[in-house]
Symmetry: C2
Subunit: 515 residues, 2 copies
C-alpha cells in the first residue's frame, strides 16, 4: 500500500495552469502514439499481406503528425516555463517526471528533421515486410538494401543528436539515458567474464540437465491457452490487455496502464519457447500495467528505460520463472494443458529442464549463462555497423564467425542466424538493454529476497501476488517519473552494480550443476 504522501507524488498539479497547459499538449501526442502503437500491433498480429504497403504510408503519416505536435514551439515554451519552476516544493515528483520526459521527447524531436522521421517510419514498415519474407525464405540478400537504408538513417539520427565519443553512443542514449560504449564496456566486462567462466566450468563438469521433457508435439492453440493461464497466474490483467501470436514475441503499452498487450510465438515441437516468452513479455506487461492511472496519457506512464524494462521481463522470466519454487506453485497448469506428455514429469524435473545450459543459435531460447553472449555479439556488430567499419553484405559471415568464437557453434541458415531478430528492421542500440536488464533485475531480485524471508515458500504455495504487489507499490506505480539510477536507489538502496548478477548467476548454476 502506498502512503498518502506517496500517492500525492503521483498526481500532476492539474490546477496549476502551466502543468495544465503542458498536459493539454502532451495528452494529444500520447493519444496519437497509442494509435501508432495500435498500427504496429496490428501489423504484427493481424494485418493482411496486401495491407503492408499502405500501412507503411499510414505509419509515416502519423509519425509525421506526432513529430509536428512534438516540435510545436508552444510545447517548447510550456517546458521553458516549467523547467526551473518545477523543482519547487509546490510541485510533485509526477510533475518533475513529466517535465523531464516531455523535455526529452521535445529535444529528440526538434533535433530530427520531419522528412527524416517520415522516411524512418516508411523504411521501418517496408523493412519489416522485407525481413519477414527474407526470414521465411532464408534469403538475406533480399534484406540487404533495407538493412543498409536503416543503417544510413540511424547514422543520420546519431549525427543529429550528437555524441562525444562514438556515433553509437547517441543511439544508446535513446534507450538508456546517459549510456555510452565506455560505460557499457565496464558494466559488461564482468558479465562476459562470468558467462565464459561458468560455461567452461559446466562443460568441463561433464554434468548434464535433461530437458527432453520440453520437446514433443504441442498443439499451438493449447500453448496459447497455457500462456494465458500462466499470465493470469503471475497477475497480468486481461481486462487491460490481450494476447496474440506474432513472428517475434513483443509487448505493446498501447495506452498504459489501461491497454497493454503482448504476443507469443509457439513452437510446435518445443514448449519452452512459448512458456518463457509468455513470462518474459508478462514481465514487461505487468510493469506497464502497474503505472499509476494518474500518469495515463502522458510519457510519465510506462517503463522508464529499455534497460529497466528488460529488468522486469528478465526478473520474471529467469529469477522467478526458471525457479523450482515458482513451478511448485504453477506447474499444475502446465500438466493440465498437456496431461499425457507431463504425466511422469514432476515440478522439480520441469524447473530443472528449463535451466539446461547449452550454447544455441536462437537468442530467445538461450539459457541464462549463454544469453548475454548472444547480446554481446549483437552489441559488437551493431556498434561496428553504426560506426561504419562493416559492410552489410559481410554480416552473415561475421555473425557466424562470432557465434563460433563465443559459443562454439554456427548457424547453417541465416534464418537461424543474422535474420532471427526483428530489431534491425527499425533501429540500433536496443540490444544492450537486455543485458542491462539482467544486471538491474538481479539487483532487484536480491532486494525482494531480502524483504521476504519466506520468498520461496510463498512461491511454492502458488502465491505470486506478493511479488507483484511489492514491485507495483515500490517501483511500477512510479511509471517513468524517476530516472533509472534514482529508481534503482529507491527500489534496492544502491546504484546499479554488476556484482549482483555475477553472484546470482554463479550461485544458481553452481547449485544446479553441483559445481
Amino acid at each position: 500500500m502506498l502512503t498518502q504522501k506517496e500517492t500525492a507524488t503521483l498526481e500532476f498539479s492539474r490546477k496549476d495552469e502551466r502543468i495544465a497547459a503542458l498536459l493539454e499538449l502532451v495528452e494529444k501526442i500520447d493519444d496519437l502514439k497509442s494509435l501508432s502503437d495500435l498500427g504496429e500491433w496490428d501489423q504484427n498480429t493481424q494485418l493482411p499481406d496486401g495491407g503492408g504497403q499502405t500501412r507503411g504510408n499510414q505509419m509515416a503519416t502519423i509519425q509525421g503528425v506526432m513529430h509536428d505536435y512534438t516540435t510545436n514551439p508552444r510545447l517548447g515554451q510550456a517546458l521553458d516555463d516549467l523547467r526551473e519552476r518545477v523543482t519547487g516544493a509546490e510541485y510533485t515528483d509526477a510533475d518533475r517526471g513529466l517535465v523531464y520526459q516531455c523535455s526529452r521527447l521535445y529535444e529528440q524531436a526538434t533535433k530530427l528533421p520531419r522528412a527524416l522521421v517520415e522516411e524512418m517510419a516508411r523504411t521501418t514498415a517496408n523493412s519489416f515486410e522485407a525481413w519477414r519474407r527474407a526470414r521465411e525464405r532464408n534469403d538475406f540478400a533480399s534484406f540487404v538494401s533495407w538493412l543498409s537504408r536503416t543503417v544510413e538513417l540511424q547514422r543520420e539520427v546519431a549525427d543529429h543528436f550528437g555524441y562525444e565519443e562514438t556515433r553509437y553512443d547517441a543511439l544508446l542514449d535513446l534507450y538508456e539515458p546517459g549510456m555510452t560504449v565506455r560505460k557499457l564496456d565496464t558494466l559488461f566486462a564482468p558479465v562476459r567474464e562470468v558467462s565464459a567462466t561458468l560455461l567452461k566450468r559446466i562443460q568441463q563438469s561433464g554434468k548434464a540437465v535433461d530437458d527432453s521433457c520440453l520437446a514433443g508435439d504441442f498443439d499451438t492453440e493449447k500453448q496459447v491457452n497455457l500462456s494465458k493461464q500462466l499470465l493470469v497466474g503471475m497477475g497480468y490483467d486481461f481486462n487491460r490487455g490481450a494476447i496474440a501470436v506474432s513472428p517475434h514475441p513483443f509487448t505493446s503499452g498501447i495506452s498504459s496502464p489501461f491497454d497493454v498487450r503482448l504476443t507469443v510465438h509457439p513452437d510446435r515441437h518445443f514448449i519452452q519457447a512459448s512458456i518463457m516468452a509468455a513470462i518474459h513479455e508478462g514481465g514487461h506487461a505487468v510493469y506497464e500495467q502497474g503505472s499509476s492511472a494518474s500518469l495515463a496519457r502522458t510519457p510519465a506512464a510506462g517503463g522508464v528505460s529499455m534497460g529497466v524494462h528488460e529488468s522486469q521481463s528478465r526478473l520474471w522470466e529467469n529469477a522467478i520463472g526458471r525457479s523450482e519454487a515458482f513451478w511448485r506453485g504453477q506447474y499444475a497448469t502446465v500438466r493440465e494443458a498437456f496431461p499425457q506428455h507431463f504425466a511422469s514429469v514432476d515440478a522439480t524435473a520441469f524447473a530443472r529442464a528449463l535451466n539446461r545450459v547449452r550454447p544455441s543459435l536462437i537468442r530467445c531460447e538461450a539459457d541464462e549463462v549463454t544469453y548475454n553472449l548472444h547480446i554481446i555479439i549483437r552489441y559488437e556488430l551493431e556498434r561496428e555497423l553504426i560506426n561504419g567499419t562493416v559492410a552489410i553484405e559481410s554480416l552473415p559471415r561475421l555473425w557466424n564467425a562470432k557465434y563460433r568464437e563465443y559459443l562454439g557453434i554456427e548457424p547453417e541458415r541465416d534464418s537461424h542466424g543474422v535474420l532471427q531478430d526483428i530489431h534491425w528492421t527499425s533501429g540500433f542500440g536496443y540490444f544492450p538493454s537486455y543485458t542491462l536488464g539482467n544486471l538491474y533485475g538481479a539487483q532487484i531480485y536480491a532486494t525482494l529476497r531480502q524483504k521476504f524471508a519466506d520468498f520461496d515458500e510463498r512461491l511454492s504455495g502458488g502465491d505470486t501476488a506478493f511479488v507483484l504487489n511489492w514491485l507495483r507499490d515500490n517501483m511500477y506505480v512510479f511509471g517513468s517519473i524517476y530516472m533509472p539510477e534514482e529508481l534503482m536507489k529507491r527500489v534496492t538502496g544502491a546504484k546499479p552494480d554488476p556484482q549482483f548478477f555475477v553472484r546470482y548467476l554463479t550461485g544458481k548454476f553452481e547449485r544446479i550443476y553441483g559445481l
Copy 2:
C-alpha cells in the same frame, strides 16, 4: 476486362501539378482515416474493457487532427484551383471524382467547428461502451443520457450543414448525396405497400416454409470457419482482409482496396445469423476490395454512398445468397462444417429455409419481405428524434408500439428491441440506406440476369466469379468517382426505380409460397 480507355479514366493525372498538390494533402488525411478506422475495428473486436476510456480520447484526438487537416485552407485553395478546370478533357474521370469527393469532405468539415467534431468522437466512443453494457443488461435507462447527447449533437450537425425542409434531410445527405425525406417517402411508398401486401398474402395463404434445419447447436468457432469458407467461395480476398467476431457484424474499409475487414456474430443456436452476416458483409467487402488500386489512399476509393454500399451487401445476401441456385453450388461447405446436422437436408430444402417469412424482432435476422418494415420503423423514429418531437425516454414504448403495428409482434426486452442496433451510438440518417440498397440491388440484379442468360446454371455449378468479375469491371472498380445516380445509369442503363424491387420481391415470394 477493362478497355484501355476505361483504365485511363481510373488514373489520376499525377503529372498535373494541381492534382499532385491535391493528392499530397488528401493522401495524408486518408492515412489518418485508416488508423482511425483501425481504432474502431479494434474497439469492436479486441480492445480490452479497461482500454475503453482512453480509446475514446484517442479517437477524439485523431478526429480532431483529421478535422484540422481537412479544413486546411491549402486544401480549399487546391480544390478552388481545380473545380472548373477539372471538367476539361485533359483530366480523367478519376480526377473529377477526386475533386468532387474532396470538395464534399472539405465542405462537410469546414461547416463543423472542431470542438463539435471532437465532442462527437468522444461521445461515440463512450456511447458505444454504454450501449454495449446496456444491451447486455437490458437496461435502456443507463443508455438514455448518451443517446440524448448523441441526438443533441446530431441536431447541431444538421444545423451547421443546413437544410431546406427538415433537419433530418441534412443528415440523410451525409450518407446519400441529395437525399431528402420528401424523396425517400416517394421511393419508400411502393416498398411499404409491396411488403405489407405480400406479408398479408403469405399469412393468409396458410402455407409455411420449414426452417427448422437452421436451428440446433452449432459450435461458434466452426461457424466462423464456415463464414471464412463461404467468403472465399464468393471471392472475398483474405490476402487483403480479415474476419473477426464483434457484437454487431460490420465491414471496415480500413485501406481500400488493400485492407478491407469484416466481422460476424455467430448465434450458437441459429446458424442463419452468421451465414447471412458473412455474405452480407462479404458484399460490402468485395465492393471495397474491387476499387481500382490507382484510387487508393484517397476518398475516390471505396463505395460511393451508403445506399449503393447496401445494394451490394443486399444483392449478395438476398438475391444471390438466398437463392437455390447459389446453394446448389455452395451447400457442400455447410454440410462439411456440420455433417451430422445437415445429413438429411438437401440444398433445395436449405435454400428454402433461408426464405421463411416470419415477422421477427431482430432486423439483422429478418426475411426479405419484412426487412424493410424494420427499416421504416427506425426511419420514422429517428426522423422524429432529430426533428424534435419525441422524448428519448419514450423510445422503448414507441418502438414496441410500431412493432405491434407494422409486424404484429412486440419485444419483451429492450435488448431485443430498441437496444439491438449499434447505429444510434454514433449518428442518425443511415438506416434508410438499407432500403435504398434493396432498391438499387434489385435493379442491378435484373441487369445481371439479363447479361447472363445462364445465370442460375453457373451459380448452381459453384461459379460465383462471373458475378464478381462483372460487378468489379462494371461497377466496383470505379470506387466512388461516379455519383449514385450516374453509377446506376452506367451499370443498369436506368435511373433508380423502385419497381425493380417490387417485381423482384413479388416474383420471388409468389414462387416460394406458391401464391
